[in-house]
Amino acid sequence: MPEIALTAWQILIVKVLVILMVVPMGAIVGGYAEHKVMAHLQHRLGPMYPGGFHGWATTLADGIKFLYKEDIIPDAADKRVFSLAPAAIMVPIIMIYLVIPMDESLVIEDLDVGIFYLLAISSVSTIGVLMAGWSSANKYALIGALRSAAQLIAYELPVVLSAAAVAMLAGSLSLVDIVRAQDWMFILWPPGLGLALFLVFVTGAIAEMTRVPFDMPIAESEIITGPFTEYTGMRYIFSHMFAEMGHLIAFGGIGATLFLGGFQPIVPWEPLEVIPGIVWFLLKTFFMIFLFLWIRPTFPRVREDQLQKFAWKFLIPLSLVLILLTGAWVLYV
C-alpha cells in the first residue's frame, strides 16, 4: 500500500462516509435478498422486472418511490417527537456497524469493550420505537410501541447472556479478539454448548429485530405495522424498512462474528486461508441472514403473552444454565 498520510480527521470522515454508505446499501441488498429468498421459499419468483436482471433494482426503486411520497404528520401527533423518532431508531443501528470486524484490520473501531458496546447500542433504537408509537396519537401505534418495549426487555437478556458466554470463551470483550479466538467456530466448539448458545442468540436476535415469529409489535395483519402506522414517505423507510434491514444485516454480522468465526476460515486449514477474510465474513453473514429470512415465512407469530412466557420461563433460565456450563468449560477444559 502506498503511504498516504491522513490526519485523524480525514480518517474519521472516511470512516463515517463508509458507514453511511454501508447501511443504505446493505438495506437495499438485504431488502432484495428478502424479496427473493422469501419468494422462492414460497414457490414464486418475486420481483423480476425492475432493473432488468431478476429485478435487482426493486428495493432501489422502492426507496426512490418513498422519497417522493408526501410526508404526513398527523394533526394530533406530538410533532417534534414524531419527526425525531426515525432518527432515534436509525442512528443506533448505524452505530452497530462501528465495531463489527469484517477483516483482521477492516474494522472501523476495534473497541476494547466491543461486545459490550454492541449490546448496549443495539437496544437503544427501541427508545425510538417508543417515541414513534407514543407520538403518533394512534391506538394501534401505541399498542405496538408498548409491545415492542416489553419484548425488548424480555429478549435483550438472552442475547446478552449468550454473548457474555462467548466473551467468556474468548477471554476478551474486543470483537477482533473474539474472532481470533475462534480457531474452531464457537458454534462447533465447545460441542453442543456452542450450538445451544447460538440458538439462544438467534432466537433473541429475531425477537430484537421484531421479525416473525416474534413480530407482535408490528404484526401487520393485526396492528398494521404497529408504531409506524402513521409514518409515510422517507420517515417510514428510515424508521421501518432501513431499520429492519439494518438490523438484519447487523445481527447477521454479529452472529457471524460471535459464533461463526467472523473473518476466519470455517475450519483451521492452511489452503483455506488464501481466501481473504472479508469473503469469509460476508459468506457467514449471508448465511445468518438466510437463516433469518428462512424462518420468517415459515412460522406464524406468537402471541404477546406467550412471547413473554417463552422469554422469561424458558430462554433466560436456559441461557443462565448455559453460562454456568460455559464457565465450567472454560475452567476445566
Binding site: 414460497q42 415469529p213 395483519s221 396492528i223 406468537v302 402471541r303 420461563k313
Partner: protein, 395 residues
C-alpha cells in the same frame, strides 16, 4: 375464572400455564384492571376480509367487549332480485359469497325446479355436485390461506393459491368464469363441460390431496400455530346451536350437521363421504375441520367424475322460466354453512320475494360471545377462524 366455568370447559391447559382466557378473566374481574380504551378495528383492516368493523373495548391487550358492526357492504340483494328474472338472479346471487359463487346458485335452482316440477337429468346432477365440491375446495383453501396469513405465516397462502389455480382453471374451462360462474340454469346446466374438464378437475383435486401434508407440516404441526389456536376462541356446542351457527364452524364445535348428509339434495346421497367434526370448538378444531373437509370434497369430486353418466344436461324446461305460484324453502350446504333460500312466486318471471339465509350472517353473530375476554392477538385468530365473507353477511 367465572367465564371459564360458564363455558363449561375444564382446565384443558396444555403447557401447565394458565391459558389466555384465564389471564383475560383475571383482568376483567378487576385484579389487573386498568383504564379501558376503545379500539376501532375496521372497517378497513387486513384481518376483517373486507369492510367488517369491530368495536373493541380493550384493557391493555385484553378485549373486554367486542361489538361487530356490519352493513358496510349491503347491496340489497333481496330487493334487487325482485326486479330481475331468474337467469339474471343466478348471476346476482353468486356475488353474495364471492368465494363460493356456484354454491350460491344451487338453492335458487333447486327451489325453481321444485316449484316448476322439473326433473334434472342425472348428468347435470353429477356435474353440479362435482362443481359444487370443487368450489368448496377452492373456498376452503382460500380460508386456509388467509388464516395462516393472519397468524403471520404468509407462506401457506401462496401454496394454497397455487393449488387453487388448477381447480379454478377447470371451472373456468367449463363456465368461463373464475369466481362468478353463473353456470346453473333451472333444469340443468348452461351447457355441457368441454373436453378435458374431467382430467383437469381430477388433476386439481388430486394435487390438493397430495400436497396436504405440506400444509399440515406448515401449520397444524407447528407448535406456534398450536399455541395460537388450541383453546383459543372456544365456541361451545350449545352456544353454537343458539346462534344458529352452521358449516365448518359449527362442526368444529361438535355439531355434526351437514345438509348434504342430513337432508340430501341433488345426488349427494349417492356418494360416500363423511361429515367432519371436532369436539373442542376452538380455532384449532375449526381449522382442522376445514382442512379435512377438503379431503371429503375431493372424494366426492372423484366419485362424481368417475361415475359420471352420459346424456343430456337439461331437463324439459319451458322456454320462459316462470315459477308457478307457490313458495318453497330450500337449504343447501354452502362452503361456510347452511345457505337457505325462501322463494315466493306469484307466477311471474320474477320472484315475488326471495329471502336469503346466509351462513356467514349467522356465524358472525356468535362473535361477541367468543371474542369476550380474549387478547387482541386472539381476536385476529378468531376472526380468521370464523370463515366469513363480507358479501355473504351483508348481501
Amino acid at each position: 375464572m367465572a367465564v371459564t366455568e360458564d363455558r363449561g370447559l375444564a382446565d384443558t391447559n396444555i403447557d401447565g400455564v394458565r391459558d389466555s382466557s384465564d389471564v383475560a378473566a383475571e383482568v376483567s374481574s378487576g385484579k389487573l384492571m386498568t383504564e379501558e380504551m376503545i379500539l376501532n378495528v375496521g372497517p378497513q383492516h387486513p384481518a376483517t376480509h373486507g369492510v367488517f368493523r369491530l368495536l373493541a373495548t380493550i384493557d391493555g391487550e385484553v378485549l373486554v367487549d367486542a361489538d361487530p358492526i356490519i352493513g358496510y357492504m349491503h347491496r340489497g340483494y333481496e330487493k334487487l332480485v325482485e326486479a330481475r328474472d331468474y337467469r339474471q338472479i343466478t348471476n346476482l346471487v353468486s356475488r353474495m359469497d364471492w368465494l363460493s359463487g356456484i354454491n350460491n346458485e344451487i338453492p335458487l335452482h333447486i327451489a325453481l325446479e321444485t316449484l316448476m316440477e322439473i326433473e334434472v337429468p342425472p348428468r347435470a346432477q353429477y356435474l353440479r355436485v362435482a362443481m359444487l365440491e370443487m368450489n368448496r375446495i377452492i373456498n376452503h383453501l382460500m380460508f386456509f390461506a388467509s388464516f395462516g396469513a393472519e397468524l403471520g405465516a404468509i407462506t401457506p397462502a401462496f401454496y394454497a393459491f397455487r393449488e387453487r389455480e388448477d381447480i379454478q382453471f377447470a371451472l373456468e374451462m367449463a363456465t368461463g368464469g373464475r369466481m362468478h360462474f353463473g353456470f346453473f340454469r333451472p333444469g340443468g346446466l348452461k351447457e355441457d363441460v368441454p373436453r378435458g374438464f374431467f382430467a383437469q378437475a381430477l388433476k386439481g383435486v388430486r394435487q390438493v390431496i397430495d400436497r396436504l401434508p405440506d400444509y399440515e407440516n406448515l401449520l397444524i404441526g407447528n407448535e406456534i400455530f398450536k399455541q395460537r389456536t388450541v383453546n383459543v376462541g372456544v365456541l361451545p356446542t350449545d352456544v353454537a346451536y343458539n346462534y344458529g351457527v352452521s358449516g365448518p364452524i359449527a362442526r368444529g364445535s361438535d355439531i355434526t350437521f351437514d345438509v348434504r348428509k342430513d337432508e340430501p339434495y341433488l345426488v349427494y346421497d349417492q356418494f360416500d363421504f363423511d361429515v367432519c367434526s371436532a369436539p373442542h370448538g376452538d380455532c384449532f378444531d375449526r381449522f382442522w375441520v376445514l382442512l379435512h373437509e377438503v379431503v371429503e370434497s375431493a372424494k366426492i369430486v372423484e366419485q362424481a367424475i368417475e361415475g359420471m353418466p352420459s346424456g343430456p344436461i337439461m331437463g324439459k324446461v319451458p322456454r320462459v322460466v316462470q315459477a308457478p305460484e307457490g313458495e318453497v324453502y330450500v337449504r343447501t350446504e354452502n362452503s361456510l354453512g347452511e345457505l337457505g333460500m325462501y322463494l315466493v312466486s306469484d307466477g311471474d318471471r320474477r320472484p315475488y320475494r326471495l329471502k336469503i339465509r346466509t351462513p356467514s350472517y349467522n356465524n358472525v353473530s356468535a362473535l361477541p360471545y367468543v371474542l369476550k375476554n380474549t387478547f387482541v392477538a386472539d381476536m385476529i385468530a378468531i376472526l380468521g377462524s370464523f370463515f366469513f365473507v363480507l358479501g355473504d353477511i351483508d348481501r
